[in-house]
Structure formats: C-alpha cells, structure tokens
Symmetry: C2
Subunit: 500 residues, 2 copies
C-alpha cells in the first residue's frame, strides 16, 4: 500500500468516527429517551477513546511525517495531511490523565451550574469553575508550545476554535468595535421605541410555525434530501456526512420570531456543511477552518438576509398566509421594525444585532482575565455586573441572569465566545464583498432568488472547506483579513435609518 | 490490571459498539435523509471493521483462554466469557475476504431482488441468488468445525441464529407440525367465513391510530422512559442500551389491525430488551440466547395475548373511544372473529396464526434443499408453487408474490426463517407453563393487569438474558425443550372454538 492510500484510509476512518459521534450527539438532543442519556455518555466515551487511539497511533504519525517531506505532494493532499496533523499534535500534547480530569470536572461543573443557576447561588458554582479554569490553564500549557513563543494561554484555547487567531490581534479590534457600539446603543436608546405590541398576547400555532420554518429552509436552499430539521431545546446544526446534515429549531407559541430566526441561523450553518466540494467529501477538508467562519454563514443568513427589509418584503406575505388572523393586518414597515427592535437586555441569546456583540465583549474581557488570574472567580459577579452597566446600561438582579446564564464556561469552553463576534464581522465583510462583486443583493432577496447569494458563498467559502485557513478564506473572498469596518458601516446605515 | 478487569473492559467496549451500530441502523430506517444512506453504509462499515478488530484481537484471545482455565471463575462471569468467545471464534473462522465478498454479493443481490420483484423477473435474480448460496456454503464450511463432526452446512447457518439447534432435530418436529396444520387449515376452510366487512372501506385516522398504539405500549408495560416508538416502513425493535430500546410500527389508513398487531409484536421484543437484570447491563449476557427466544416474546404478546378474547374484551371499548364513528357499533364477538380470521394466502407477513407456520415450512424445506444443492435455484419457483399448493392450497400467480416476496434470501439470511416458528412454539410453551404455575391469565388480561404475565416472563426469560442457552431457558421456564404440542393444543382449542 502506498503512503497516500495508507493516510487516506486513516483520515477517512477518523472522519467517519466524527460523523458517528455527530449522530450520537444529535440523537441525544432530539429523540433519545430520557433514561438513555447515561449509557449514551458511555457510548460517546467509548467512541471518543477509539478516535483518540486512531489519531495518536504511531503508524499515522509515520505516514504523516513522510508525506509532509514529499515535495511532489499535490497541494490539496498536503492540506489534508496538515489538517489531520494539527488534530494529531493536539491529541498527543494533552495527556490522557488531563483529558479524563477535564471530562470529570466538566461533568461536575455542569451539574453544579444547573443547581446554582436554579437557586441563584454563585458560591455553589465558584469552586467548580475554579477547577475548570485550572485545568484549562494546564491544557493551554500543553498546547501552547505548538503556537510559538509569543502565544499566551488564552491564545492556545482560542486557537482550538479559531485557528491562527490571537488575543493580541483580537483585543484591539474588539475594543474598536466596543467604542463604536456603546455610543450607538445609547443613541438608539434615546429614540422612540417602535411598536411591537402586535406580536404579543397571541398564540401562534406550533404546527403552523413548524410548517413555515420547513418552507423557509427549502426556499433558502437547504437541501432536505441531504438533511433534515427536528426540534430540540437548544437549536444546533450537526453534520453527520456529506449527504446528511441536520439542523434543529425550537418553537415558542407566543414568539413566532424565535423559531424563524433559529431556523434561518441553522440553515446558514447547514448550507455551509452541505457545500463542500464532492472531491473533499470524507476528508479532513470537509470542515470549517474556524468556528468564526462557520458562524459567519449562520449570521449572514440570519441577520444580513433574514432581518433585511428586502427579505421581509417577500416573506411577510408568505407568513401572513400561515397566520392570517394573527398577522393579516400588519404592514411591512411595522414588521421590519419589530424584527429589528433594539433594546439592551441581560440575556445574550435574546440580544439584537446591535447589542449582541457587547454581550460577547463582556465575556471575552472577563474570560481573558479569569484565565490569566487577574480576576478571581469569586469576583466574577461584581465584574460582570459592572461591565454590563458600562457597556449596555443594564444591571442583572441575579447572577442566574448575569454571569451564570451561559453553559460555555461551566462546560469548559474558554476562548469560544469571541468566535460569535468574529462570525458577525466576517458576515458583514462577505455581504459587502458580494455587493461589490455581484451586486443586487436586495433585489434578488426580494425576489426570493437566494441562489444568487448562495452560489457566491459556495464558490468563495463553502466549496474549499478547510483547504484554506480562516484568514486565507476571508482574504480570498473579501480582499482583507478580519475587519470590523464593514460590520460597523452596516449597523450605522441600517440602524441609522431605523432609528433616525 | 487483573485478567477479569481486562476482559470486562473489552467486553463492554464491544457491547457499546453493538449499541452504536444499533443506533445507526435505527436511524437509517427512521429519520436519515434519503441521500444520507450511502455514507451511512460507510459509517456502518467502518464501525463493523473496528468491532471485528476488537473481537479478533489476540490480547482478547489470551485473556479469554486464561479465564476459561480458571476453575474459580464465578458461573456468571464464565458465561460472559463463553458468549464473547462464541462470537470471537466465528469472527476468526470467517476470513475477511469472505466477509467482504458476502457484503458485496448481498448488496448486488438486494438491488437485483428489488428490480426482479418489481418486474416479476426471477431470471434476473437467479444468478445473484446462486452466488449468495455459494458464499453461504463457504461460510458454513468455515464455521462447521466448531459444531462437531455431525453438523451439516445448514446447521452451521442455523446456529448463527438459533445456537444449538440442528436440522436433524428441527426437521421431524416441523414435519409433525405440518401434519397437524395442513388438515386444520383445510377443515377451517370448509367452515363459513366470518364477516369482517365492518373493517373495510373506512378510513382510520393515522394520528389516532398512532395515539392508540402509544397507549397500548404503555398499558402493556413497555417503559417509555427507557425507550420510544417511531414509524418505519418495516416494523422492528432495536436495543441501543439497557435504557434505550426502540420499537417502530407502521400505519395503514384502511387497516387498523396492522399497526395494532405490529406495535404489540414489537412491544414483546422491546419489553424483553428492557428486562435484563441490571447486573448484566453492558455485558454479553444482556442479549437473547437465540432469535427464537426473542421471537417467543413478540409472538406471545402479539398472538397469545393480543389476539385473545380476554384482551379484546378489555381493549375493544378503548379502541372504540379512539374510533367511535368507525367501530362504535361492533360487538366483541364479531371483532374477535375478525382479529382471528383464518384464510390461506400467498404472503407470509399477512398470514394468520394458523397458516403462518406453513409459510415457514415452505421456506425451511426449500432453503435446506437449496443449500445442499438438491434444489437448483432455477427450479425454485416451481418448487415454491408446488409446496404452496400442497400445504396451503394456494398458487402464486407471479414469483413476486411467490418465492421473491421476502428479503431474507437475497439478504443472505439462510437459516433464519425457522426461528419464527420456533418463537411461536416457545410462546405457546411459555403461556401454558404460566397457566400451570400462576394461572388466571385470561382474568388478569381482561383486567388489563399485564404485569402479572410480564413479571413471570421477566423472572423466567428476560432477567437472565443469555446466561442460559435457549434450550436451558425454555427448560427452566417450562420443564421441557422445544415442543410443538402446546402450540398445537392452543390452535386446536382456539380455532376449534372459532370454527366449530
């Protein structure tokens, strides 16, 4: 067997295991019976151990070394080898004892978080969170040498989600965004509130909502022959194979906009997962180069498209067909304003386009400080509340709706939050490049011809998957690296118009 | 690590892989998007290869040898080791090239079967079926040495599904059954047909049917916290873990009895899978000793319970609540007769309790002859039609509704059909033993107290799983080995009464 065939088989086996793990996760959040969760954890653990064994096998290491020395290796094959090598290096760097300690700490912390959130008792969570941070530092120290001498611990964790990104680069860029957003939020807050009462106090039949989201999925271009939608408590997208991409949504009877924006958001993720070139199916290229790139696709469809006037000009009449009694009388302008209602709030996942990134900024700044030890866990609630007041002008009454609202930190995900904002910034860069290169976004969206935009994204972002890094991808598509300017210009224009 | 801990870890890993493979299979038949099937085949292949690698690892062989020599090993542990060793021996005996050839032949034959069935073109299927038989003979020759010098090729294949059973033992027993059934069917055929017209020409709302089957599942004792029901084209039961057992049903608008009997049948399988003692969860004991034992549970609930007068005395009023307009006027006796309507037909899966086993006899006798070469594949249609005429008095007009109706042979499952009849025989033995030991079955079923029977089955059959062989299980529960007498007595009494 030649070297490439050997490598190729091993790479595809690992990819298959990832797909199966994806199915286990999807099933757990959708259909698994309540009591089936403990054994499911065991199944996942068994499969993850096998995946780790495959990834860290010396035979794989040998074939990778040889291939990387082969200068005649075609570029795409080299990229495949490098992607696997990246994962392999990390798998080898982090000792099994630490992986196990992290899994145990996570499990304990998640349980404590649920209790502490329920009883608003941060002190119950604090020691567990301390342990998670301690292990995260250990983990960062294992990986850090791979990133060069300048890398910080935070960089090492961020690199898991956003390969190549550093706090030194991200920090000033997010600070610039903050300096733009804080006064914008204040300015909007001083304007009259739009009337959104027509959405309140009504019941929107869940089955009709479901049918509408299915219609949206199809219209946007999500391929239901190669995917499906289900319901789950928290919406997510799971790629299982190149021909099996699953999204979920959640439906609230009294908030029809929730399922709609969830579905559009996940459709963005889902269409990305359906868009890798066939040549890369089953390989390490059939993947996103970073969480931020993945998120750019969901945010682009959810916000740039799904909250645009053009989109609702086309879509409101359709929505009215589903809910004639509830929405028959609403005019486009009122609906568009309701969809883009801006109000500083306490909860990230409920935030609008303008305030959302300030929620992320609070978390980014605090997790950097927590990891470095500059901020003690016991001081987190105070620091959280103070930043919320400064950036958003609101003060949580409890830690449950403050620093305990998200699952990320208890779950051990330090260095993940910024990728949401990176996704927002990328999405505006992409939309602006599309307008420059192709143009007529508004008109094609208004006609429901989403394929024009989707084809461009396929070509610029989806097709090549992880053949390029995130930075290369965004540069190739837009001509520049991560840049907050298009996003700020977008907000300025849209919300300047909405809140004159 | 001591020997037992080593073995135990390996055994549980294999069990986990089985559970995951079960989930992949379940998903493919229920929710997987249409185009996701090819990559799913790849996922399954990858996981099966890993399972095979684990099962055939020399380290597992070493620890098994050592443990089997240890006379102080507790009985239950010894049984666990023996069960894994049984699978291991078979995995080692059959060369990878043959496994691969079989998988390829199966895939080609299934495709040819679907085409041939659609166009009623047996000649298109014949060469593929020939190849399946040839490979089945090869496979049998690999395994046969494990079974002793007297074992035939057919025994080797039968042993996969019904360990310990042989054609020499089964043949005379099934012949006896045939001699009883053929005249019984003729006798019934000469009696007036009951009126079943009240079930025809009506539409039974599928959602109401679904709700009714869910109610039945709960009432019978299937634990929906540790399982679920879904829909699929062909009903099945899949155990995924001790706390996650999934059944499916299928609903026809114009045939309400179909979903009802499917659900009861699968509930029987499902309650069995939910019934292994906690001490055996995750071990090789948490399994059926044979397909016949598993089938005995589904048949017992479907037929002995679910087609009894006592069951319908309780259940018909409930069914009328779901379908007042459609069934409100029907009296118990008419319904009971309709549920037990006997008529020789062409299709096995539509057959009643009396004629069903004659369908199996046709298949058993023919597959024995096909495997030995006494019957050429090209002569199968003629032989099929002739036996159908002799045993059931009916003649298929096409091979599609004749020898091509079932998926089993094209799928490579030679030696499986008899387990259906074995299940029927066991079920009658068990019911008769229950009546002897506990008594009052009719009364408790009529009161909906299915738990009395379920507890007895848990104790006698479910709890111990594969701790005993099938033969040991049935002897312990009923006092004798496989015996057609109770089944024949049951049919004689029930249908003598229905068709006096």
């Amino acid at each position: 067997m030649d070297r490439w065939t050997d490598f190729d088989g091993r790479m595809r086996e690992i990819k298959d295991l990832d797909g199966i793990l994806g199915l286990l996760g999807w099933d757990e959040e959708t259909y698994a019976p309540r009591s089936g969760r403990a054994p499911r954890g065991r199944h996942t653990g068994t499969l993850e151990a096998i995946r780790h064994e495959r990834l860290s096998s010396p035979a794989l290491g040998d074939v990778i070394s040889t291939l990387l020395q082969d200068r005649s290796l075609p570029l795409e094959r080299r990229a495949m080898v490098e992607r696997v090598e990246r994962r392999r290096e990390r798998a080898l760097r982090v000792p099994a004892t630490l992986v196990k300690a992290m899994a145990e700490a996570r499990s304990l912390t998640l349980a404590a978080w649920q209790e502490a959130k329920g009883s608003n008792d941060f002190a119950h969570l604090a020691p567990k969170l301390d342990r998670v941070l301690e292990l995260s530092r250990e983990r960062a120290d294992c990986v850090r040498p791979l990133l060069g001498p300048a890398a910080t611990r935070y960089d090492a964790l961020l690199d898991d989600n956003e390969p190549g990104m550093t706090a030194a680069r991200l920090g000033p860029l997010l600070a610039k965004l903050r300096e733009f957003l804080v006064p914008l939020v204040a300015r909007i807050g001083a304007r009259p509130r739009p009337d959104t009462s027509f959405l309140r106090g009504k019941r929107f039949d869940p089955e009709r909502q479901w049918q509408f989201t299915m219609r949206l999925l199809r219209d946007l271009g999500f391929d239901l022959d190669r995917g499906r939608q289900d319901r789950s408590a928290h919406p997510f997208t799971q790629g299982i194979s190149e021909h099996d991409v699953r999204v979920t949504t959640r439906i609230f009877e009294d908030e029809p906009l929730s399922a709609i924006s969830s579905t559009i958001h996940e459709a963005g993720h889902g269409m990305y997962e359906q868009g890798f070139l066939p040549a890369f199916h089953g390989t390490s290229i059939a993947d996103a180069p970073s969480a931020g790139i993945h998120e750019s696709q969901s945010r682009l469809w959810e916000n740039q498209v799904g909250r645009s006037r053009a989109f609702w000009k086309r879509t409101l009449p359709l929505l009215k067909e589903f809910f004639p009694a509830e929405l028959g009388q609403i005019d486009l302008e009122a609906f568009y304003r309701a969809v883009n209602f801006v109000e500083p709030g306490l909860i990230r996942v409920d935030a609008d386009e303008v305030t959302y990134n300030l929620h992320i900024l609070v978390r980014f700044e605090l997790e950097v400080a927590l990891l470095s030890g500059d901020l003690a866990v016991s001081d987190l609630p105070g620091a959280w509340n103070s930043k919320m007041k400064t950036y958003l002008g609101v003060s949580p009454k409890t830690d449950s709706e403050g620093c305990m609202q998200d699952i990320h930190w208890p779950w051990g995900a330090i260095g993940y939050f910024p990728t949401y904002t990176i996704g927002n910034l990328y999405s505006a860069q992409l939309m602006s490049a599309f307008e420059r290169e192709v143009g007529g976004a508004e008109a094609s969206i208004e006609r429901g011809e989403y394929g024009v935009l989707l084809s461009w994204l396929r070509d610029k972002v989806h097709h090549r998957g992880w053949l390029d890094t995130a930075e290369e991808t965004i540069r190739r598509a837009t001509g520049s690296g991560l840049d907050p300017a298009p996003f700020m210009a977008y907000l300025e224009k849209k919300f300047g118009d909405l809140y004159p």
